[in-house]
């Protein structure tokens, strides 16, 4: 029943698109005022999609296995929370979520853009409706979440247990708010270009939308990364896996776009950058969906595969890119009317430098991600591109990037001189000595690490100084840049100082490592709602005599029959102690991995700080109004 309602409201929502387009075109031509009927219609469309979405949630909650999606991805013994999150933990449901966010954003856009001109609003709506129609067709035709199965099965196939996790339950909605938020940026940029509407006012209006989706995208990536850290048991937080890369690429484009809009808001230059970046952010977001969902990527994270769906997204994406490039080339008028000079030392130059660096990072990630696909198509050779590739190409360029990040915000618009040069140099010397000092103590690869850590410390110290010297006008920028320096520093020290022991132990055995002793004391069994839990007890004796008890867990899920490892992590401000166990069938030995990972929590906190920077800017903007 719920499925039926869901399906028909989806159809209604689809039909409404044509009404909306009809009325918008009429409104665009005829009257001078914005027709409020259109807003009601978009609300109605949003309403139908919400009903459809809730229909699906309802089917999941009530375990209605006559619905194919529910059958494939749910099970009656699953906890309620994961029944609900199972709604978007699969291809069909997650596309419905895409659609929901698409319609939600255009509705929000319409009610929050009253101070913009009618033409601009209507045209944005039209572009957005094109995307919405595409996704409606996609959902209804190739991946309807409301297919029936007959006869009705008694029990579902269950949700992949590693997805049954709080962080991953909320990861897709948040990430999608970021991904799909870029659709509004895309639509409104296209409409602004077509109308020649690009102005400083437009920049500050679009900035909010960029910030909003940027914050969500950042948080979404963070959640995925935290999940990978504790659930996959690899003890890392970023693997340069294609699926991670496809979320990083829109982030890089969006971050660059944001910086360009900052310039546009002040100086009305870099409009081409803004247009191209808006298009690429959205294209990359869609590519992300395409690559993850099509099964083209040979990735360890992919869950759903279906080439036909991939083909549809690909064709649709090409149409959109074609349309946007057409608009860009035929309507876009570059700002060169006023002769604008770039001076070497100015804020806009430093942002331009930032852009080029970001584009370089983006290209590296893009090539690393899609090169294996091309090679497989061309020569049917299967390859994978690992972390060394990215490390080698990205890390060296981080050095000038960090320096530019520290110095750029110090510059003035148009033309400036670096004043107070003394403290800038002083800070540099200070951070150099600090790095040398720390590296000497740690006794690692001297030259490489010093060169890398110095600029990170430099940015760190300079942003701290700016907090102290109370430059409130740059607060959001300062928070975000400070967060970034903290992130780089934490990652560096985490990499240098992490230690691990991997061994196979039987219950009762002890492993003697260099600085500690791992005692495998016991293992206990417990019954849970949809899995059996085996909790091991480890007793770690450190060389200083302190003892730590860690209890990693093995879960044997009943449906599907899968074993997952739940790490036990003891976190404090300085380090994480991380232990996982695994079992191989018919073997007495347990595979044990014990890791000490310094500064882990600071990696998460610094990313939170970065998004907090964005949030501050958003709030400040509202406050100023």
């Amino acid at each position: 029943m719920a499925s039926l309602i869901g399906f028909y409201s989806l159809i209604f929502g689809f039909c409404l698109s044509f009404f909306i387009i009809f009325f918008s075109i009429r409104n665009y031509k005829d009257s001078n005022n914005f027709d409020t009927k259109i807003i009601s219609l978009t609300f109605l469309q949003l309403f139908f999609v919400i009903v459809s979405f809730f229909g699906l949630i309802f089917s999941f909650v009530t375990s209605d296995f006559s619905n194919e999606t529910v059958f494939n991805h749910s099970h009656s013994t699953k906890p309620l929370f994961y029944k609900i999150s199972g709604t978007w933990g699969n291809h069909e449901g997650s596309l419905l979520l895409w659609l929901l966010v698409l319609t939600l954003f255009i509705f929000l856009f319409l009610i929050r853009s009253k101070d913009q001109t009618k033409q601009y609003r209507v045209l944005t709506l039209l572009f957005q409706e094109i995307i919405i129609i595409g996704f409606f067709i996609f959902v209804i035709k190739t991946s309807s979440p409301f297919n029936y199965i007959f006869p009705v099965p008694d029990e579902g196939l269950g949700l992949n247990p590693i997805l049954q996790d709080p962080a991953l339950a909320i990861h897709p909605p948040i990430l999608y708010l970021g991904y799909v938020g870029s659709s509004i940026i895309f639509s409104s940029t296209l409409s602004a270009v077509s109308l020649g509407y690009m102005s400083k006012g437009w920049a500050s209006h679009i900035k909010q939308w960029i910030l909003t989706s940027w914050i969500f995208l950042t948080l979404g990536i963070l959640l995925g990364s935290i999940w990978a850290y504790y659930e996959l048991g690899w003890g890392g937080f970023w693997f340069w896996d294609p699926v991670e890369n496809v979320s990083l690429m829109p982030w890089l484009a969006l971050t660059t776009l944001f910086h360009c809009v900052l310039v546009l808001e002040k100086k009305l230059i870099l409009t081409s950058w803004v247009v191209v970046l808006s298009i690429s952010t959205f294209a990359l977001s869609m590519c992300g969906t395409f690559l993850v969902r099509s099964g083209i990527l040979n990735s360890v994270h992919t869950f759903a595969n279906d080439p036909e769906r991939g083909l549809f997204i690909l064709i649709f994406l090409f149409c959109l890119i074609f349309l946007s490039l057409f608009i860009f080339f035929f309507f876009h008028k570059p700002e060169n009317k006023i002769n604008y000079n770039f001076f070497l030392l100015s804020k806009e130059t430093s942002i331009l430098v930032n852009n080029w660096f970001m584009m370089y990072f983006l290209i590296v990630v893009l090539i690393g991600t899609i090169y294996p696909i091309f090679l497989e198509v061309i020569s049917s050779q299967k390859i994978s591109v690992g972390p060394p590739f990215y490390n080698k190409l990205i890390i060296p360029f981080l050095i000038p990037f960090l320096l530019a990040m520290a110095l750029g915000p110090k510059l003035e618009w148009i033309k400036s001189k670096l004043e107070n040069k003394i403290y800038l140099i002083l800070f540099f010397v200070l951070s150099l000595f600090l790095s040398i000092f720390i590296i000497k103590i740690l006794g690692t690869n001297f030259l490489f690490n010093t060169i890398l850590i110095t600029p990170a410390f430099y940015l760190f110290l300079i942003t701290i100084r700016d907090f102290v010297s109370m430059k409130l006008k740059n607060l959001s920028q300062n928070i975000a840049h400070f967060g970034f320096s903290l992130l780089i520093l934490s990652i560096l020290f985490n990499n240098i100082l992490s230690t691990e022991t991997i061994t196979n132990l039987k219950v009762g055995e002890t492993f003697q490592a260099k600085n500690y002793k791992i005692n495998f004391e016991s293992i206990d069994q417990e019954e849970r709602q949809n899995f059996q839990s085996f909790i091991a007890k480890f007793n770690i004796e450190n060389s200083d005599g302190s003892i730590e008890i860690l209890k990693p867990e093995l879960r044997v899920y009943n449906q599907p029959n899968i074993i997952t490892s739940e790490a036990d992590i003891k976190t404090n401000l300085l380090r994480d102690k991380f232990i996982t166990i695994n079992v191989v069938q018919n073997q007495e030995y347990f595979n044990v991995r014990y890791q000490i990972k310094p500064l882990m929590i600071w990696i998460w906190l610094s990313v939170l700080l970065i998004s907090l920077g964005g949030l501050t800017s958003l709030i400040k903007k509202k406050y100023e109004k």
């Binding site: 996959l232 360890v300 992919t302 290209i363 090539i367 994978s384 991997i502 191989v584 595979n591």
Partner: protein, 139 residues
Amino acid sequence: MYGRKVKLRFYFIFIILIILSLSVFLILKSLEENVVYFQSPTEVKALVEIDKKKIRIGGMVKKDSILMREEELKFIVTDFKNEINVVYSGLIPNLFAEGKGVVAEGFLKDKSLFLATKILAKHDENYMPPEVKAALEEK
């Protein structure tokens, strides 16, 4: 002949082009060095000489072939045509089991012995390396 501005712009574009081609060159160069090729046991058998580079092999874990000791794990990877012995010490992913698909990264000692440095987890219990799938379908 040309104004100063035009010249400047020309140089600017020129520099950008150089930087662009240089970075593309660098990227492709290090791609070449850092990619890891994927081979099935049959492809390994067909190798003329053994490469010292890191590779990935994939197939199914042969039934009753897992041998676990304190320091290492031994098992056999098969694509139902050829087999290869794997020796590994390190983290074992959850979905590693007999009769399931596996991808191991490491170095070939000879054509029948592979020293793995990493076993890759696949998150999907139904995952099967494409080669194995093809081999199974041929049967």
